[in-house]
């Protein structure tokens, strides 16, 4: 049935997105209308265990977190190659396996480097 579908296959996704976003916005609007804010200075202060916070939370943060993100992007892009490979693997045969083993080895080199330099440690 999908093959003969007159609708581009991504259109329902857009519909779903519209429904989801609409639901979220309506909920927030509705609760905004009936949950009246009665703000006081103490109430709208930032919570830090009952103490006035020292400094702001929008400060510098250790680079480690970004490091993880960067490593992730590297490996994630690589992992995305595995999907099409898995799709056509049977046609590629032994050639495909060796090819992918090589690819993983190169990847593994980077991984080993990240491991050794402590980028994966905390």
């Amino acid at each position: 049935m999908t093959a003969s579908s007159p609708l581009p296959s991504y259109v329902p996704i857009l519909v779903l997105g519209a429904i989801a976003a609409g639901f979220a916005i309506l909920t927030i609007l509705f609760s905004h209308l009936i949950g009246r804010p009665r703000s006081t200075p103490a109430k709208s202060a930032t919570y830090e265990c009952g103490m006035p916070p020292v400094g702001t939370a929008h400060a510098r943060f250790p680079v480690k977190f970004y490091l993880v993100c960067v490593i992730f992007i590297l490996f994630d892009v690589d992992a995305a190659f595995l999907y099409p490979w898995a799709l056509v693997f049977r046609e590629l045969g032994i050639f495909g396996l060796i090819e992918m083993a090589l690819f993983v080895c190169i990847l593994g080199g980077g991984f080993a480097y990240a491991w050794k330099t402590g980028a994966l440690d905390w």
Binding site: A24, E48, L97
Partner: protein, 355 residues
């Protein structure tokens, strides 16, 4: 049967999307109740049992209460980002379910009320049939981190910020293992369409990926638990450490939306586990697939998903949580290498068998 025109097709899909969203939100509220009751029973307590028979109306009461709760934005927060974050979180969570098949096809009854083109037409229970279904899932599930990071950062609260950073690093780390665990089933099904992967597992329990791809299934379970931030991987909101993590400053319906996003994600990963590894709507024995001429596919599907959801609750009732460095170490140094090795192993075995 005649082919559908595009407005008819759109109408069917929109109705399906609405149904799925409504169903997920309903399931969310039921889940909160079930989780509280089950946890209570595991802990020699009763749980909520006052609102309605057996406390069944508790979720409704909670919902009403949350709607009427005071709308609250901290002074120091970045106002618009703070309000947008829950909306982003729930939207991305709901978007992920688009490509998931929930069962075979359901044949519409021949009621006179229905327009003629709908009567007796089989409707596949899947919102969108994407050829790159798995890739779509991979992409959308990564988007989920936006809502959380936005929520944690915009509140301008240090505990929220730490929670958000933990969450992003954790989701990234386990996303990789999660994506890699799918490659095995893809290799077997030779398709990126989830319905094909389910179809590939038809014919009994011995064909399920949970059996023939057991390591991948284990990796998936670990990664999925971490991905949705459930114990023992609930570090983004570890209440004993970070007060409530990224949603420390949230209240009223915005808090509810963040909770909802979390539960929808939990349901999504359970549904995906069912599709990828537990044979989807196929019965463990072919003879159990239908009873009295009725296809029990949807029942099997629901049962498997329910069992996985129960597993999440059970884990929460049993285990303490990991420390942050232990979590990262496990993700990167155990799960990722194991997943890659497993893929190569699977490929080699396939090659050897089809030689």
């Amino acid at each position: 049967m005649t082919a559908l025109t595009w407005p008819q097709e759109l109408a069917i899909r929109s109705a399906l999307a609405l149904t799925v969203v409504a169903f997920l939100l309903g399931l969310f509220s039921v889940m909160t109740y079930i989780e509280r009751r089950l946890l209570a029973f595991m802990q020699f307590r009763l749980g909520p049992n006052r609102t309605g028979p057996l406390g069944l109306f508790q979720p409704v009461a909670d919902g009403i209460k949350l709607f009427f709760k005071e709308e609250f934005v901290p002074q120091a927060a970045n106002r618009w980002a703070f309000i947008a974050a829950p909306a982003v979180a729930i939207t991305t969570a709901l978007m992920a379910v688009a490509v998931i098949p929930y069962g075979g096809a359901v044949t519409m009854p021949r009621f006179d009320l229905l327009p003629e083109w709908l009567r007796g037409r089989p409707i596949p229970l899947q919102i969108a049939h994407l050829d790159v279904g798995v890739l779509y899932l991979f992409a959308v599930s990564t988007l989920g981190v936006y809502g959380i990071v936005l929520a944690g950062w915009s509140a301008n609260n240090k505990w929220s910020l730490i929670g958000a950073l933990r969450s992003s690093a954790q989701m990234f780390s386990y996303e990789l293992a999660l994506g890699l665990s799918w490659v095995g089933p893809i290799l077997l099904a030779e398709s990126l369409r989830i319905e094909d992967i389910v179809a590939c597992q038809a014919g009994g329990i011995h064909r399920w990926n949970a059996i023939i791809q057991l390591p991948a299934f284990m990796i998936y379970l670990f990664a999925a638990t971490a991905e949705v931030g459930r114990l023992p991987f609930d570090l983004p909101e570890a209440e004993a450490e970070l007060v409530a993590g990224f949603h420390t400053e949230y209240a009223s319906m915005k808090f509810a939306l963040l909770q909802m996003a979390e539960y929808v994600n939990m349901i999504t990963v359970s549904v995906l586990a069912t599709d990828f590894f537990l044979g989807g709507w196929h019965a463990p024995l072919v003879s159990l697939q239908s009873a009295a001429g009725v296809n029990l596919g949807l029942l099997w599907f629901g049962g498997k998903t329910g069992a996985l959801l129960f597993l999440f609750i059970w884990l929460r009732g049993t285990l303490p949580r990991l420390r942050y460095d232990q979590l990262m170490r496990f993700g990167w140094k155990v799960l990722v290498p194991a997943a890659v090795m497993h893929i190569l192993g699977t490929a080699a075995v396939i090659l050897w068998l089809t030689r």
